[in-house]
Assembly symmetry: C2
Homo-oligomer: 350 residues x 2
C-alpha cells in the first residue's frame, strides 16, 4: 500500500476515536477543587494532541478481542475468553494519555521550554510551583483511573504494575538524556536505550495494557509491548531525520535545530563513529543566526557519511520488527491498522 | 500512664523497627542506573528520619493480625483469616515512606527550602531538574513496591487504589496551603481540611493499607484510616503549638517563625475570629530580626484570646477520637502502642 493511503487510514482511525477519547478524558479527569490546580493539570490535555497513544490502546483492544473496529463500547469491552464484557479499556487509554501529559509538564520545566502544542507551557501559563504540582496530580490521577478498569483483579494489578514500571523507565530515560548532553562519547546502542526508556516504553504500555486487562495470554501481551517499543523507537529516530530533512516552514521550527543546539541523535552519533567532526558542522550558535546554506552543507556532510541513511534504515528495520510482533494476534482489521500506525510513524512527512 | 512513659514506649517501638525499615528501604529501592538519578532519589531516605509512619504500618499489621509485636517476619506476614502467611507488609511500609520522601523533595523545591533533616535539600545538593526527576522516580517506585506485597490480587489492587488517592489528596493539600497564603479569610474548618489533605491522609494510608492487604474487614480498614486521619491532624496542630511554646534552642529553629512568616495556623485563624490583629502581632519581618520579647508579647496576646488553648484542646479531642477508632481491633499490645503513638504525637515536647 502506498504511504499516502496508509497515512489516510491512520488519520481516519485516529480521527474517529479522538472525540471519544476527549470526552473520556473529561469524564475521568473532571474539574475539581482546588480549581487552579485542576485547571493547570487539565490545561495541556485540553490544548489538544493527536491522541495517537490512546488510539493504539483502543486498536490493541479490538485486535486482541478480535472484534470489528468501533463495534464495541470501549467502556464495556468484552474480555478475550468472553467471560466478561465490562472492561473499561478507555480508562486505560486515558490513564496513559494522562501520564504522557504529566511527563510533558515536568519535561518543559526541566528543559525550560516556553511553548507546547502551540500554547505556553504550564510553568509559563501558571508558575513553576503550580506546574510541578499539576504534574504530580496527573501522576496519581493516572493510577486512580487505571485502577478502575473493572478488569479481573489479578489483571488489574498487573496493569498497575506495568504503569508504574513504565513511569520509572520514563524518568530513567529523561535522566539519561540529560546525562548524554555532557558526555562526549555516547554509543548508538546507548542512544537507542535512552530513546527506548524516554519515549518507546509508553507506546509499549499503550499497546500491552489493554491486552493485560482483557485477559490475553502472556505471549500476546509481550508481543504487543515489543510492538510498541520498536515502533516507538522508530518514531523517535524518524523525528531526528525530519529535523534535518524537512523545510523549516513545514517543520514549524528551524530545520537542523538539533545540530545548532548540539543535541546528539542517532545520526550524529553514527557520524562521529565515521570520523565526522560533528561539533564543527554548524558554526552558528543559535537557531536565529543559522543560515539554510550552513544546514545544507551539514546535511550533505552527514549524507556523505551515510549517517542519515543509517538512521532511516534503522527506523525501517525497527518498524518491520514491530509489525512482525503482531503476527501472534488474530488476523483482523484492527491489527492491520496497528501495522499502518507503525508505518505511518516513519513515513509521516512532519 | 504518664506522658513520659508513653514517650519511652513509643521511642522503643520506633527504635526496634528502624533498622528493619532502613534495611528494607535499601532492598526495595536499591541503587540502579542512571546512578546520579538514584543517588538523588535515595539521598533523603538515607539521611534519616524517625520512621514513624512505617512503624504505624507495622504495628497496624500486628494489631490487625492479633500477633505479638515483633513475633512475625514482616516480609511473610499472616493474613487475618490465616489463609496465607506470605504477605509483605514491610513493602507497604516502605512504599509509604518512599511517597513521603517524594513529597518532601518536591515541597522543598516549591517552598525553596534549603535544608531538610539537617542536610541540604535535594534541589540544593543536586539541582532543580534532578530533584524534580528524583521525586518523580520515587513516585513510581512507591507504586512498584506496593504492587509486590503478594496480597490477594483484589486486596493488592485496593491498596494501590488507596495509595493513588492518597497522593492526589496530598497534592490537593499542598495546593490549598499555597492558596491560603494569599487568602485573608480562611476558616478553621478549611484549615483542618487542608491539614487533613496535606499531612493526615498519609498517616491514614499508613494505618489502613496493612489492614487491606491482610484481608481485614472494611470496618477495620475504615477505622484504621480514621485513626491515622485524626492523629495526623492532631500531629500538625501540635506542630503549630510547639512553634510558639518551645524555646528556640530546643526547637532547632526560631520560636514563632510561623508568626514572623505570616503562616496561618489553627491558632492564628482562631485569634482572628476573636478579633485579634494577627498581622500586627510581630513587626519584625525576618526570623533573624525578631526578638524573644516580641514573640513573648505575641504569645501572651494569643493566650489571652484563648487561641493556644483552643488549638491544644482541638488536638486533644482529635487524639481521643483517633484512639476510639481502634476499639474495633482486638485488644492487644500492638493496639496499645498505636494508642501510645497517638498520645505521643501531641505530648512530644519537640
Amino acid at each position: 500500500m502506498s504511504s499516502e493511503a496508509t497515512e489516510q487510514r491512520v488519520l481516519a482511525a485516529v480521527g474517529e476515536r479522538r472525540e471519544l477519547v476527549n470526552a473520556a478524558i473529561d469524564e475521568d479527569l473532571p474539574m475539581a477543587d482546588p480549581e487552579r490546580l485542576y485547571e493547570a493539570a487539565r490545561y495541556l490535555l485540553k490544548a489538544g494532541g493527536k491522541r495517537l497513544r490512546p488510539t493504539v490502546s483502543l486498536l490493541a483492544a479490538e485486535a486482541v478481542a478480535d472484534v470489528d473496529p468501533l463495534s464495541e463500547d470501549y467502556r464495556t469491552f468484552p474480555t478475550v475468553g468472553g467471560e466478561a464484557s465490562d472492561v473499561d479499556v478507555m480508562a486505560a487509554a486515558v490513564s496513559l494519555e494522562v501520564i504522557q501529559s504529566f511527563t510533558l509538564i515536568h519535561d518543559d520545566i526541566m528543559d525550560d521550554d516556553d511553548l507546547r502544542r502551540g500554547v505556553p507551557a504550564v510553568h509559563k501559563a501558571y508558575d513553576t510551583e503550580t506546574a510541578i504540582l499539576a504534574g504530580d496530580t496527573l501522576y496519581s490521577k493516572a493510577f486512580e483511573i487505571m485502577a478502575e478498569t473493572g478488569a479481573d483483579p489479578a489483571d488489574g494489578l498487573e496493569a498497575m504494575r506495568m504503569l508504574a514500571s513504565t513511569c520509572t523507565k520514563i524518568c530513567e530515560g529523561q535522566a539519561l538524556d540529560v546525562q548524554f548532553e555532557s558526555e562526549t562519547e555516547v554509543l548508538p546502542e546507548e542512544y537507542l536505550d535512552m530513546v527506548e526508556h524516554k519515549t518507546a516504553v509508553l507506546y509499549g504500555a499503550a499497546a500491552a495494557i489493554p491486552a493485560i486487562i482483557l485477559g490475553a495470554d502472556e505471549e500476546v501481551v509481550d508481543a504487543l509491548y515489543q510492538y510498541g517499543i520498536d515502533s516507538g523507537r522508530a518514531f523517535q529516530i524518524q523525528d531526528d531525520v525530519l529535523d534535518l530533512t524537512v523545510p523549516s516552514e513545514k517543520l514549524g521550527k528551524q530545520r537542523g535545530s538539533d545540530l545548532v543546539e548540539d543535541k546528539e541523535t542517532l545520526i550524529t552519533l553514527h557520524a562521529r563513529q565515521q570520523g565526522v567532526d560533528v561539533d564543527g558542522l554548524v558554526d552558528s550558535e543559535t537557531v536565529e543566526a543559522v543560515t539554510e546554506e550552513e544546514i545544507d552543507a551539514a546535511v550533505e556532510r552527514l549524507e556523505e557519511a551515510g549517517s542519515i541513511d543509517y538512521a532511516r534504515q534503522t527506523a525501517r528495520d525497527l518498524t518491520e520488527q514491530s509489525k512482525e510482533c503482531l503476527d501472534v494476534l488474530p488476523d483482523n482489521e484492527a491489527r492491520e491498522l496497528l501495522c499502518d500506525i507503525a508505518d505511518y510513524l516513519i513515513t509521516r512527512g512532519y
